[in-house]
Amino acid sequence: MEEVRKFIVFTLKNQSYGVDVRQVHSIERLQKVTEVPRTASFIKGVINLRGTTIPVIDLRERLWIGETETTDESRFLIVEINEMQVGLLVDGANEVLDIGAEAIEPPPGMIAGVDAQYLEGVAKLREELLILLDLEHILDVNEVQEVKQAIN
């Protein structure tokens, strides 16, 4: 039987991206972010999500494709990786898609300006390409430390 996975589809700079639905905790409207000083610039700060403080990062900046201008459509995608919750600032979250394993291909070297190391693969849909993100790598704590050091 063919394996079908569910992906949450969201947009960044008019391009569609997907993350595995199992990694997504919830999708939240924007709220006031408390800045945390002296951290990497893609770390926007922390928010209060029903009594827990959760760090939020600007996904565009994290993927080195610019900086997000927030709109009414902007959302926090709360994801959970290795028992760690992190909010991702995205331009908008639209839908959930079922994608068969055969539609997913390994990522090319660079796509839509995003380096392949952050990608899990690319899914070919009827009208467009869906870029599947490798959240484990994007949110790898050690890598964050490195990025932070590189910036300082």
């Binding site: 408390t34 000083p37 002296r38 951290t39 700060g45 209060n48 959760i54 760690m84 949110l139």
Partner: protein
């Protein structure tokens, strides 16, 4: 039948008994002729044996069994207490601790103890070649060492009390679907008549449902026919044969089998336990429940501050009164819950005597350890974390502080060194001090080492006070020990100790007089999760500064802040102290609208150093709940966590220690 439910109780009690054995062994070493101490040890070891056998941990049972044999000989004065005996017994206790720890970690608690058992046996037999005529010893001599033998003893004892042992062979119907359930029902049925001491295959396998044929041994006073009758009442049982159990055959059974029910002797022990528990009027509460309660209460605290905010906005007298009352009640509740989480520091301290004894032996030092204030209570979170740093400090003291007996003699001191561990409350803090009468910190040596390691230059060194030089040994990559031993002196350690204590919100300071000794003192907060803070505003963000480190708040005019060597300073009660601006530190833009030239400053203290922190404005005092920033945002400079304010906003909690230079 499921032993899992009892595992926690087993672990708790095992640890208590092991600790008791430990303490008593140390006493015994000093007063080797006091046989009442041996009795105490014997009792604890015996209970431990019973519990372990009940839970099916054969290695623990057989090791304690052999310890008992040795202790029994001591008790009967047929064996003398020698250092060797104590040493081997300690090693056995250590092995037991390891096994119990392994069980706590979800493992099997198995360990190869044959070597230890052999050593215990050697003591038991070697020291006393002619066999004792007492019945206990004679029986012991008959026994080999595996658990089956132990079960036989249990059987014997049960028979003496009028129980009969029957072996049952149960075969389930071939078409039986829920084999596990049937097996369980059979076991239930048999248990109505007595205690099942063994099943084959093990209970786990039975419950896994793979088995359609099994045998069990039951201790009962009921006639065999009755037992058989009850088993046949369970449906889908094809046959159940019962016969009087013949002990010799069972010896061949594999040693890994479980004893699945409480044995007689363990029961009597448990009765004793219950009686003790009744008199002390305490109950055991799972730590998780207290933690959950604390978490819930933290939410109440958040809502409380929300209510306070609302009430002050609405300005309704009745509402305000109610909210104030609720605040008072919840403050009382808070302190109650906090005390529930408090445990005596004894839990950490009581493993030190043995450790010190072992270290002293390894390093050829001669010293006494004094423990004062072991009953001092600390938050459980702190207790869990403080053990390792203390171990390190103690090792450090024994290795580097206390001199060898010869050196001490030369220096005109008593040959026996002394190490004092002291815990006490003071204000909102708990202090743990560790004082030795050893060589103290050698300023020249430390200084030379610091320069050699490039920690600082000679010019810098001259300006340092003795205190500051002492604290150099806490810098990372620092070790003055001339020979690197495996105890301490690898140059990692004291800096780790320091950062660990600081991560607990505590402080470590050192006092030392060369030739006289050193004192390491640790100051710890009473609790970690709820703290009183001063809220301040910096560039539209709210920060919370813990009150415990605030000395005073000031409003100064701009011109009162002076420049000295590129550092902004103020005159604070006759002392010149540096001032740092939070805006600058946190790299947030200077506000363009400075409405006044009055500058709010928070004076904070770290050790005996003061620093002024420049903020935009003061907001007020607030009890806040400390929340971690999480793994993703670890090690953020000068921020120790976050909290949620009454209006739902997140405020960062400042770590003033990082700002004091």
């Amino acid at each position: 039948m499921d032993t899992n439910d009892y595992i926690e109780i087993f672990l708790d009690e095992s640890n208590e008994h092991l600790q008791a054995v430990n303490d008593q062994l140390l006493k015994l070493e000093k007063q080797s002729d006091d046989l009442s101490i041996v009795d105490e040890i014997f009792r604890s070891a015996h209970t431990l044996k019973g519990m372990a056998a009940t839970m099916g941990y054969e290695d623990i049972a057989s090791l304690t069994h052999n310890m008992e044999n040795v202790l029994d000989k001591i008790r009967n004065s047929s064996l003398h207490v020698t250092t060797e005996v104590i040493d081997v017994t300690f090693t056995a206790v250590e092995a037991l601790e390891e096994m119990v720890e392994s069980i706590a970690g979800g493992n099997t608690g198995k360990k190869d103890v044959t070597d230890l058992i052999a050593r215990l046996e050697a003591i038991e037999n070697g020291k006393q070649p002619e066999e004792s005529k007492e019945p206990v010893a004679a029986k012991e001599a008959l026994e080999s060492l595996d658990l089956d033998e132990y079960q036989l003893t249990v059987l014997d004892q049960a028979k003496e009390q009028g129980f009969e042992a029957y072996q049952m062979e149960v075969v389930l119907d071939e078409g039986c679907i829920l084999k596990a359930a049937r097996a369980y029902m059979v076991v239930e049925a048999v248990e109505q008549h007595g205690e099942i001491i063994k099943t084959s295959p093990t209970v786990e396998e039975l419950e896994a449902g793979e088995v359609d044929r099994f045998s069990l041994i039951v201790l009962t006073k009921s006639p065999a026919a009755d037992v058989k009758q009850s088993v046949h009442k369970v449906s889908e049982v094809e046959s159940a044969d019962i016969s009087l159990y013949v002990a010799v055959k069972e010896e061949a059974a594999p040693a890994t089998e479980e004893i699945a029910a409480t044995t007689e002797e363990a029961q009597t022990e448990q009765k004793e336990e219950t009686q003790k528990a009744v008199t002390s009027k305490t109950i055991r509460v799972n730590l998780e429940r207290i933690d959950d309660l604390m978490n819930l209460f933290e939410e109440v605290v958040i809502d409380r501050s929300r209510l306070e905010d609302l009430a002050s906005e609405i300005k309704n007298d009745a509402l305000q009164e109610t909210v104030e009352h609720m605040s008072r009640v919840s403050e009382d509740m808070q302190s109650l819950i906090l005390t529930m989480r408090m445990v005596p520091v004894e839990q950490v301290f009581n493993r030190f005597p043995r450790m010190v004894r072992g270290l002293a032996k390894d390093l050829n030092k001669n010293l006494d350890l004094d423990i004062i204030g072991a009953e001092t209570e600390l938050d459980r979170t702190v207790i869990d974390e403080i053990g390792d740093p203390l171990v390190h400090l103690i090792r450090n003291s024994i290795d580097h502080g206390i001199e060898s007996p010869e050196e001490r003699k030369k220096a005109g001191k008593a040959e026996k060194g002394s190490l004092t561990l002291r815990a006490f409350h003071s204000g909102n803090h708990v202090f743990i001090e560790m004082e030795d009468d050893g060589a103290g910190i050698n300023r020249e040596k430390v200084a030379a080492k610091a320069i050699q390691n490039g920690v600082l230059t000679e010019a810098q060194l001259e300006k340092l006070s003795d205190q500051e030089v002492n604290e150099l040994i806490l810098a990372s990559g620092f070790s003055t020990a001339e020979t690197v031993s495996d105890i301490s002196g690898r140059g990692v350690g004291l800096d780790v100790v320091k950062s660990k204590i600081e991560s607990l919100g505590g402080k470590l300071s050192i006092e030392s007089t060369q030739g006289k000794g050193s004192k390491f003192s640790i100051q710890l907060p009473l609790t970690l999760s709820i703290l009183s803070t001063l809220l301040v505003d910096v560039s539209e963000e709210i920060y919370a500064i813990p009150l415990s480190s605030i000395i005073e708040t000031l409003m100064l005019e701009e011109k009162e802040i002076m420049d000295a060597h590129g550092q902004r300073v103020i005159d604070f009660r006759g002392n010149i102290i540096p001032v740092v601006s939070l805006r600058k530190v946190f790299d947030v833009e200077e506000s363009t609208t400075k409405d006044s030239s009055i500058q709010p400053i928070v004076v904070v203290k770290k050790g005996n150093k003061l620093t002024g922190i420049l903020v935009d404005s003061f907001i007020g005092q607030k009890e806040v709940v400390l929340k971690s920033l999480g793994a993703y945002l670890k090690d953020v400079f000068a921020i120790s966590g976050a909290t949620i304010l009454g209006d739902g906003r997140v405020a960062l909690i400042l770590d003033p220690n990082a700002l004091v230079k």
